[in-house]
């Protein structure tokens, strides 16, 4: 949808280098992402303020799951067209990929489409404005998504009867399996994992069953469910990730490594995969192999103290105490920052 918007912008502008742009756009549509990226970058090299190229490059980065780059690109585009609805929406969606609801919320607030109003209400829900979210969601045309988030909002208000009544409406608009799935997502997001498990079992979604069993601290059953999910779809990256990470946490690093390596190949942007791969190598006593993986994770997640902690441990194991101290100092600094941000004394 946003791609079309940007294409339209391009034709309106009628800028130079149209063939490069058209080829890049075609590559993007065909999911030939490296080719598309090279094309849009070439357009931007020639015309740094080409709005269409910026917009499409942002879409490309989002598709590559590089939300930080996407955000930077959309922000650059918005400096050229501050009120462009497609850019506002896409920037908001990129923030959502990082669970940064507070940054996404004002962007959606500037838009008036039903989709943007729904996204704004979701942001309100996730930033603690539960009553406002409920009021907004109740104004929207009921859809399965609206029912889903409204139910979650009621759960957050400790109003389980209304949540359950709202979820019941899903069954009149969706096939039972999908309704069970969405119901399970509500309970899962509300950390009511026993209820989530019951719903997911009704839906037959083995991946969600496995993830929920992880949360219920039933690792053997979780691993079995995730393996079933992988038997159904060997390329399910999410199942590979959860099973690999679970095995690492359960001190079974060897079988985790091929799973996590597969995820890394498909999704090199995920810092969590590098983290668990590094931790697996640490468990195997191979700090030399662990360190670059953990350093990659730390580079991609610079604000996650636990990642820096593992970097420190790997450096200690390698007999590099001075560098380890730097990593631990980073952990301490992040912990202090986190605590200082929460200070609420009057």
């Amino acid at each position: 949808m946003t791609l079309f918007t940007c294409l339209a912008l391009f034709f309106l502008q009628g800028q130079a280098t149209p063939q490069i742009f058209a080829d890049a756009a075609q590559a993007l549509q065909a999911n030939r992402l490296p080719e598309a990226e090279a094309g849009f970058k070439e357009v931007l090299r020639r015309e740094p303020n080409n709005l269409s190229a910026l917009g499409n490059l942002g879409v490309l980065y989002s598709r590559q799951s590089k939300p930080a780059l996407a955000i930077e690109t959309y922000q650059r585009a918005l400096r050229l067209a501050p009120n462009e609805p497609g850019l506002l929406l896409n920037l908001g969606l990129a923030h959502l990929k990082l669970d940064d609801y507070s940054k996404a919320k004002p962007l959606f607030a500037r838009l008036s489409t039903p989709q943007a109003r729904e996204l704004h209400a979701i942001c309100q829900l996730q930033t603690g404005e539960v009553a406002a979210a409920i009021a907004a969601l109740e104004q929207l045309t009921p859809t399965p998504a609206v029912y889903h988030f409204l139910s979650l909002a009621y759960v957050k208000q400790q109003d389980l009867p209304r949540a359950e009544a709202t979820l019941a409406k899903l069954y009149s608009v969706l096939p039972a399996a999908q309704a069970h799935y969405l119901e399970g997502r509500v309970w899962y997001d509300a950390a009511l994992f026993d209820k989530a498990l019951a719903s997911f079992e009704q839906s037959g979604n083995t991946l969600e069953i496995g993830k929920t069993l992880v949360s219920l601290r039933r690792p053997a059953e979780a691993a079995a469910a995730l393996r079933r999910a992988l038997a159904d779809n060997p390329n399910d990256i999410e199942a590979q990730y959860f099973l690999g990470a679970l095995l690492v946490q359960e001190n079974e690093p060897k079988p985790a490594i091929p799973l996590l390596t597969s995820v890394t190949t498909a999704r090199p942007d995920l810092w969590g995969t590098h983290y668990y791969l590094g931790k697996a190598q640490l468990l195997l006593g191979n700090a030399k192999a662990a360190l670059p993986l953990l350093e990659t994770a730390a580079k991609r997640a610079p604000d996650e103290a636990p990642v820096h902690y593992q970097v420190g441990r790997a450096l200690q194991a390698l007999g590099r105490p001075a560098e380890a101290r730097l990593a631990f100092a980073r952990v301490a600094k992040l912990q202090r920052q986190s605590n200082n941000e929460s200070i609420m004394m009057k």
Partner: protein, 577 residues
């Protein structure tokens, strides 16, 4: 594919690591009998006064929630353990019975409240207690930490105490919420210094009301605020000049910059260099480890030494600390209790003060339901393998009505040591005193009835204390050691006793605070199982060493730093007729 930051962190926060942790599944029961049974004999012993601590049904301030420690001590040197119970208070009208209490052991299973006679009646928000002979006059003194001013009570040796806080230089320049307190001879001059931790900068007028802030909610229900969101506490070190007068050397010692929500404070020589190190369990943030640099200064090294966080690098809500040698390798390990939805943690020491998180491999991940406070690495069944003990209790009494899954009162927990080296959780199997539900805080381990096993004294919020009498297997052997320093401080705080029995070796250290803000019996207790003799090696704080070979089991050894073993007493260890 819906991968977001939350997905990446899912395994941290939703079940595998340290927050929101669900318990590991329990394995099959070992089938091995636990030859020890605990019965609460507090009422029969005359311990009927409730320990007042904040509101009963709701608590508007964090101050009302943390409770206090308790102490086993022998204030009159008669060889029988007496009890000291610090008291909290109540906002609004403070009941007159809300006073610290001293109970004298009547040597017949009962106690007499001698608080008024001893001059120890005091109201206020007491938290922690430390016991030691700070002036080396032969009688144990008592330090009590408070929100407000702390108090040092000098034991006059005649059954009375005198508040000497001001003349000993321990008055703080302003009000603090001191929690952890432990005597420690940091410079090994034979005089006990004092290490303190404070919790938060607490002023009721400046703290949001329940529900006013995201940190003032728990599971969606408005509760009192903190500690997260409140200004962190700090640490103090006071040096004893040898004449019973203290000087604040916090800054010179390098402790002034550290900040944390400090609770239980301990001092022990973890890196085995002969100098005591300092450690504090800290709530919600990294715990702190101050390595003694042997020149009067300390270096904070909790992260590199592996005792700040858990193996996943996650901060935990540290409350109480057990110190002991759980794996019988001759090194002091640490057991730290935490909030619910998290495991307690067991840190294994390599002997050089570097620790490894051994929680999962030891089987402790099976229990995450309760908030843990008092803690011990103690051999409860005298089988020669130290067990773990946890006193538990929720902090928000108002939650239970809305969320019945989170009761305010919880059972105690024993993790009994198995021959495999792992632990097995016991509640109902260890007697009614363990299974009974209370909202407990501090606990202390000691042999109040002098019968050769460890009993447990437990503080319960707004209830009388529990006194759990241990009826352990009478065929299992044991050995107790009571040390008296001459060149070292008289209480022998910081002395390490290493016992070799059969193929095992176990080390313990004399501490003046551990568990949760509490004081254990200063007589070190070793279960020996079937073994009937042990070799005893003592390393005194002065550096002096003594060894005693093939000591017969089932005795209390009185050992003097200069003259060696002065008495071998069989139960009931009477020192005076």
């Amino acid at each position: 594919m819906p991968f977001s930051r939350r997905d990446l962190l899912a395994l941290f926060f939703q079940g595998v690591a340290s927050r929101g942790v669900k318990p590991q599944p329990k394995g099959k029961p070992s089938g091995l009998p636990f030859k020890s049974r605990f019965t609460d004999v507090a009422a029969a012993a005359g311990l009927s006064a409730p320990v007042i601590y904040g509101g009963v049904d709701r608590k508007d301030y964090l101050l009302e929630t943390i409770g206090s420690g308790v102490a086993f001590l022998d204030y009159d040197n008669d060889g029988w353990l007496d009890l000291f119970i610090p008291s909290g208070a109540r906002f609004g009208t403070n009941p007159p019975e809300a006073i610290n209490r001293l109970y004298k052991n009547n040597r017949d299973g009962t106690f007499a409240d001698v608080t008024l006679k001893a001059g120890l009646a005091r109201q206020g928000w007491a938290c922690g207690v430390a016991v030691a002979d700070y002036n080396n006059d032969g009688f144990d003194d008592i330090f009590v930490s408070y929100w407000g001013q702390n108090v040092l009570y000098r034991n006059n040796g005649d059954g009375t105490f005198t508040d000497v806080t001001k003349e000993s230089g321990l008055l703080l320049p302003q009000r603090h919420w001191t929690t952890g307190c432990t005597f420690v001879d940091t410079n090994r001059d034979g005089h006990l210094d004092l290490f303190l931790s404070t919790y938060v900068d607490f002023d009721p007028a400046r703290i949001p009301k329940p529900g006013e802030n995201p940190n003032c909610n728990w599971k969606g229900i408005a509760v009192n605020c903190g500690p997260r969101g409140l200004t962190q506490g700090r640490f103090f070190l006071f040096r004893n000049n040898g004449k019973g007068v203290y000087a604040d050397v916090t800054k010179a010692a390098g402790l002034a910059e550290a900040r944390a929500y400090g609770l239980t404070a301990i001092a022990a020589d973890f890196d085995e260099d002969g100098w005591p190190d300092l450690y504090a369990a800290c709530d919600s943030v990294s715990s702190v480890y101050f390595r003694n640099k042997r020149d009067g200064t300390f270096e904070e090294e909790a992260l590199p030494r592996g005792v700040a966080v858990n193996e996943d690098g996650m901060e935990q809500a540290g409350m109480g600390l057990g110190v002991g040698d759980y794996n019988l390798d001759g090194h002091l390990d640490l057991f730290k209790t935490h909030f619910s939805d998290d495991t307690h943690i067991l840190y294994r020491n390599d002997g050089q003060g570097n620790f490894t998180d051994a929680t999962k491999v030891s089987g402790l991940g099976v229990e995450t339901r309760y908030v843990g406070w008092g803690a011990g690495i103690v051999d409860l069944d005298n089988d020669g393998r130290p067990d773990l003990f946890v006193a538990s209790g929720a902090v928000y009494p108002e939650i239970e009505a809305k969320l019945p899954a989170y009761p305010y009162k919880n059972p105690r927990i024993i993790f009994r040591a198995l021959p495999s080296g792992a632990f097995e959780e016991l509640i109902d199997e260890a007697g009614p005193g363990i299974a009974a539900a209370h909202s407990s805080r501090g606990c202390a381990f000691g042999d109040f009835d002098n019968d050769g096993d460890l009993d447990i004294l437990i503080m319960n919020m707004n209830e009388p204390v529990s006194l759990l009498r241990n009826d352990a297997d009478p065929t299992a052997n044991w050995l107790k050691v009571l040390l008296t320093g001459t060149k070292s401080n008289r209480s022998a705080i910081g002395a390490q006793v290493r016992l070799r029995y059969g193929a095992r070796v176990q080390v313990q250290e004399v501490l003046s605070q551990s568990s949760y803000l509490s004081v254990n019996d200063r007589r070190l207790h070793f279960g020996l199982g079937a073994v009937k003799t042990a070799d005893v090696e003592i390393r005194w704080p002065s550096g002096a060493r003594q060894t005693f070979a093939r000591v017969e089991a089932n005795h209390l050894l009185l050992i003097n730093e200069t003259s060696g073993i002065t008495a071998r007493l069989r139960p009931p260890f009477l020192l005076k007729p």
